[in-house]
Amino acid sequence: MPLDTSAYSLALLRVDGRRWNELRRIHAQIRTQAAADGSSYLEIGHTKVMCVVTGPSEPGSRRGAIGSTGGGVGGGAVGGGAAQSKGAEVAVSIVIAGFSSVDRKRTARGDKRILELQSTISNALAASLHTHLFPHSAINISLHVLSQDGSLLAALINAATLACVDAGIPMTDYVAACTAGSTSTYAANDEAADPLLDLNHQEEQELPGLTVATLGGSDRVAVLVCESRVQVSRLEGMLAVGVDGCKQVREILDRVVREKGRRMVQEGTVEKGVGLNDMDVD
């Protein structure tokens, strides 16, 4: 069994060989499902998620929509704050595959943890998507977790953002997310602890951490979730590192989108539009 997180101080290396300010390898694709309105696939290290967006469309019966094909997890979170008549509702449903973690687990119906993830994502996206353009309609975001290795919420938010871009829903900016942590435990109360960027599963288990999402490259925080105990003095450092990480994530997401756009123009799937003028197509 490898060393645990307490070995960091020996050589400033984390359990997987990264430094404190390094992201894991992020790999993303969009338009992975031709039949869907929008789709994406995203990996952060060994965390692998997939997203399919349907809509904006007429809000049919809630059972028939794609949001509830998830099977294991019923229903979806509805967000947006706006009344139904004013803007589109954003429904998120998450399915965590039984094989996604080390031990095969069945997620219970109405698992509170999943409900909370759904509403967090729904609220975050509703703030960025221009839902007022689509009154009386619904946007169904369906997320599938294939493999888990920490930073799950961040991966889900990033994948949902990409899928919404693919679906062509107007939005203010990317909602980019990542996690941040601290190198020593709460009880150790070590003043000199370094902040950490992008926690993997082992680090999430052993160390305090938080998930942060920002609106594009700005410092505007869209999501901040902290479920562990941490000294308030360390919070500022963790947040700064997290926000900085979000900017890096935004660049990666943006690259993926532009690359796909360039390929599609080349292949002639889409015409080079006005908006694509500034794009280097050749």
Binding site: L3, A11, H46, N189, D194
Partner: protein
């Protein structure tokens, strides 16, 4: 549909990502396959001060601090590597010979590979922690190189390659990389990179690849003081060779079960797991308490004990009923039975020697002669060891096991080491320095205990000095009880106030130190302690209130003001746990400056204190309690004797004396209330050794006198502790640090109560502490005033020991302190010498909103760890204190012979134990000590009577008063000077 398959081709980082796959099994027996990412990089420095390339790319932490380089630019050389060298040990080298690496004469500039560290951690956590300690030490220059994360040294496991082979290959690759890397530095003298391994195959492969590689023995021989260090290399190294030599060697012990077989057996209830305890009187008998049975299981005989050592966590199998036996009523000492064994001749003389067989025979005879089935106890045999509890043992070389040639030459010789602790079997040791080590106290460790070897084999660690010298015996004692006695490191001393002894309570009330402190300098406070006490924890006062009630205050040194949570001093104190008092020495928990000066509530000076103030009626009923941080000025520091004189002297009518008289009157009433509630008054034989003031040689032994002023202080401390316990439990129901004393299981008293019934016709009722207290009071023998004390001493030994715990781990009814008959209790009154009190201080300070609660004081996991540690430390400190007294009593009696009264406490079929209250010692008198030729004896277990006939005729009964002659004698088995008693 687009493919989701990850395309590595286009990714520039792909080559740098690898993964680590391993399989682990969980506690519940599930097998999990874990896949972890590994990011390979090229900026992991070599940490050699010769290398400038690495220095430029050295990693920085979040604060921009680069890690400093460890390995010296001019490392020491050996006879083979005159240019200097760096060492790269493999896991086995560290596992076998950690003691070598901790030497201060050699083993500097060592590169610890990540893979080695990981393997070590999986094999032995204590060794891992020792190694981490070495990497943190400034002068040893140990560097951890993360070879698995460096691109050049990362090794992927090949098809069909075993994990061990892969790890060995990784070590060799890292050594090769280091050699190449250093060669590029163009330094004038490039140090050799030397791999240390005991694996012959690995060594051969390394040499084939052109690397420097040595076995531990080869390497140590190159060093200057190699001969001395050679002894530190454990036995196991030559084991392979030895095996080849003696293929026909028979296995003496049954083989252990495999771990999985044991675990499934325990789970299904067929096998039982527990801690193995050896009987203090008989080395061939042990017992194991397992959760499944109320009574302990007996383990009898060498074959059933099967290489377990006292304290090991073992798995046992219960034997069939026809093999159940009574616990032996005989004393069997290893030394007497195995005296003439030859350490070199292994296994040739049959497994169970004739003499041992004879000793066991007696038992069998007895069990078969009596058909009282009911007396037989279930027995068991050990089928495996889950966890060894081997530590370092203090002992001395058995003179008789040394051959003549061994005393002269420097030939390697096998000798036996007899550990001080009688429960540990003798250890076979191979050394070249027999002549030097004879007659010394030495420290050894056990390395292994093979099936083919009668005794465990070990290696020498270091010598403590001549037997029976004060320095050696004291150090031996401290090591034996695991007391941290090294001077405080600089990091700890740095936490002390800068003013040193000149520190004073700030004069100005505006100073932050005065914040929320009450000014109690006007109160007539005094302290009462033993003579010569320097660390004064507590002081008291009382004064009449206008409403006729009395205000009583207990003032405790405010240690938490000086020791802040989680700094180096706090950590050191939490490890030490308690101050240890030996007869001639005190091992402090906190540095002297705090313990004897700044915190100590010395008279005539102002000190910070933590005060508990009660309002009491003259009948000692509590009206209200209040807690506050304060500043006090003690008027006088009394000794118990001085205070007693002052109280008894009617002419003294000053306010201070009057207030002590008030306290005394109140304390009597408090005591009465406690007794009515069922508190036990227990007893242990306590004596005091008087020393000559100049040479500090012991001259006399006195039993401790009991004064009223002692119970005065005791009562108010108990009251303060109880009040504080209730307060902190109220504030922190989950995390308060408390002390409990569990009610003893009834079966503990079975034997004593039977003995009392048979011998004296007395009943011992044990339903509650109140019933026990009353029946103990009734245990009087009019002809013998000491009898009651004797019964109390024996009853005390049937009790459980009190323990610290964190309130969240127990239900409220379990909080009870049985001995004190108090619902809730903690330790608050001695923060200078006990860590638990310091934690209680912090919790109380938070409970009264004096300061914010510190996370370490609230974290339950951490508090549990603290409690576990201080429980052990507390027990060890007590044992060490007693052992120290025993040693000095022996020294005080040296060359004297006195006749004293003694009492028979325990009877065996071949001897009995006598307690001499005058010296607080107990000793065994064997039948063969009674007369020159051992008399015949009949032992009647029913009536606890031993009758001897033949060369000397005496009848010895339990509880009997006997006259004994006490002389001193050096105990050959333990090398300790003790007392020897003869029946007169």
């Amino acid at each position: 549909m687009a493919s989701l398959k990850r395309s590595f081709d286009g990714d520039p980082f792909a080559a740098n990502i690898s993964s680590k796959v391993y399989v682990r099994s969980t506690k519940s027996g599930k097998v999990q396959k874990i896949v972890r990412e590994v990011y390979l990089r090229q900026d992991i420095p070599c940490s050699s001060r010769l290398c400038h390339g690495c220095l430029n790319t050295a990693p920085k932490d979040a604060a921009g601090q680069a890690i400093h380089f460890v390995l010296s630019d001019a490392p020491a050389g050996t006879s083979v590597f005159p240019q200097g060298h760096y060492l790269v040990p493999d896991t086995n080298a560290l596992l076998n010979a950690m003691d070598l690496f901790e030497q201060s004469s050699a083993f500097y500039d060592v590169i610890i590979l990540q893979i080695v560290l990981e393997e070590l951690r999986n094999r032995s956590l204590p060794l891992y922690n020792r190694l981490i300690g070495l990497t943190k030490s400034e002068d040893k220059r140990f560097y951890v190189f993360f070879n698995e994360f460096r691109l050049e040294t990362h090794v992927a496991r090949l098809d069909g390659e075993s994990v061990n082979d892969r790890n060995d290959r990784a070590v060799r690759k890292a050594v090769a990389w280091y050699a190449q890397h250093l060669a590029r530095t163009k330094a004038r003298k490039i140090p050799a990179v030397v791999m240390l391994s005991n694996d012959r195959d690995n060594l051969r492969k390394a040499r084939d690849e052109g690397l420097h590689a040595c076995s531990l023995t080869e390497y140590v021989k190159q060093l200057k003081d190699g001969d001395r260090l050679l002894d530190l290399i454990p036995e196991t190294e030559d084991r392979d060779a030895a095996k080849d030599k003696r293929p026909g060697e028979q296995n003496l012990y049954p083989e252990y079960f495999t771990m999985s077989k044991m675990m499934t057996g325990v789970k299904s209830g067929l096998l039982h797991q527990g801690i193995f305890n050896v009987s203090p009187y008989n080395y061939l008998e042990g017992s194991i308490r397992v959760p499944a049975f109320p009574k302990a299981l007996l383990v009898l005989g060498r074959e059933n004990i099967n290489r377990a050592v006292d304290g090991d966590l073992v798995v046992v199998e219960v034997l069939p009923k026809d093999q159940w036996k009574e616990p032996s009523s005989q004393v069997i000492e290893e030394e007497a039975v195995t005296k003439n064994e030859n350490p070199d001749a292994e296994g040739n003389e049959g497994f169970v020697s004739e003499k041992e067989r004879k000793a066991l025979q007696e038992d069998v005879k007895r069990t078969q002669s009596k058909t009282t089935e009911g007396h037989a106890q279930p027995t068991a045999k050990i089928v495996g060891v889950v966890k060894r509890n081997w530590r370092q043992y203090v002992g001395h070389i058995d003179q008789s096991s040394v051959s003549q040639s061994g005393q002269q030459g420097r030939k390697q010789d096998s000798v036996f080491v007899i550990p001080m602790d009688k429960k540990i079997p003798k250890i076979r040791l191979r050394t070249r320095q027999v002549a030097e080590l004879l007659g010394k106290r030495i420290l050894v460790t056990i390395d292994a205990w093979d099936r083919g070897s009668r005794h465990p084999s070990g290696h020498f660690v270091r010598s403590l000095g001549e037997l029976e010298t004060k320095a050696a015996e004291t150090e031996a004692l401290l090591l034996e009880y695991d007391v941290q006695y090294r001077p405080f490191p600089k990091t700890v001393l740095d936490c002390l106030p800068k003013e040193g002894h000149d520190w004073k309570v700030p004069a100005s009330i505006e100073d932050p130190g005065w914040k929320d402190r009450e000014d109690l300098r006007d109160l007539l406070i005094c302290s009462i302690d033993p003579i010569g006490c320097q660390d004064i924890d507590d002081a008291l006062h009382s004064r009449p209130l206008p409403n006729g009630n009395i205000e009583v205050g207990v003032h405790i040194a405010d240690v938490s003001h000086f020791v802040k949570p989680n700094n180096a001093m706090d950590n050191e104190a939490s490890i030490r746990g308690t101050t240890v008092y030996l007869v001639d020495k005190r091992i402090d928990m906190l540095p002297m400056l705090l313990g004897t000066d700044l915190c100590s509530l010395k008279p005539y000076v102002e000190r910070y204190a933590f005060s508990v103030l009660w309002e009491m009626t003259p009948d000692a009923d509590i009206v209200g309690a209040r807690f506050t941080k304060s500043v006090i000025k003690s008027r006088e520091a009394f000794s118990y004797e001085q205070a007693q004189l002052r109280v008894d002297d009617g002419s003294q009518q000053d306010d201070l004396t009057r207030s002590i008289r008030t306290l005394l009157a109140l304390s009597r009433k408090l005591r009465q209330k406690r007794m009515d509630a069922g508190a036990l008054s227990l007893s242990s034989p306590e004596v005091k050794v008087q020393m000559e003031s100049e040479t500090s040689d012991p001259i006399d032994v006195k039993t401790k006198e009991h004064l009223d002023t002692m119970s005065l202080v005791e009562e108010f401390m108990l009251l303060a502790n109880t009040s504080v316990a209730a307060k902190i439990y109220d504030a922190f129901p989950q995390t308060a640090i408390l002390r409990r004393h569990a009610a003893p299981p009834k079966t503990n008293f079975d034997e004593l109560s039977n003995q009392l019934k048979v011998k004296k016709g007395l009943e011992l009722s044990v339903e509650s502490s109140k019933a026990l207290a009353d029946s103990l009071d009734a245990c009087v023998d009019n002809s013998d005033p000491f009898f009651n004390t004797l019964v109390r001493i024996m009853a005390t030994r049937c009790m459980m020991s009190a323990e610290y715990f964190c309130s969240g781990t127990q239900a409220y009814p379990e909080f009870r302190h049985y001995g004190l008959a108090s619902e809730i209790y903690t330790h608050f009154t001695s923060p200078i010498r006990r860590y638990a009190d310091l934690v209680a201080h912090r919790q109380l300070a938070a409970a009264i909103d004096y300061e914010a609660v510190h996370p370490s004081v609230r974290s339950r996991g951490r508090l549990e760890a603290v409690c576990k540690n201080i429980n052990v430390r507390h027990r060890n400190a007590q044992l060490a204190g007693r052992a120290s007294i025993a040693y000095y009593v022996g020294q005080a009696l040296r060359g004297k012979a006195t006749e004293e009264d003694g009492f028979v406490m325990k009877i065996f079929s071949n001897g009995f134990v006598v307690l001499v209250p005058r010296f607080g010692i107990e000793s065994l008198i064997r039948l063969r000590d009674l007369a020159d030729t051992e008399p015949q004896a009949t032992y009647d277990a029913e009536s606890y009577t031993l009758k001897t006939t033949g060369s000397r005729e005496v009848t010895v009964e339990l509880f009997q008063k006997v006259r004994v002659r006490v002389t001193d004698q050096k105990d050959e088995t333990t090398g300790k000077r003790g007392v020897k008693m003869e029946l007169v």
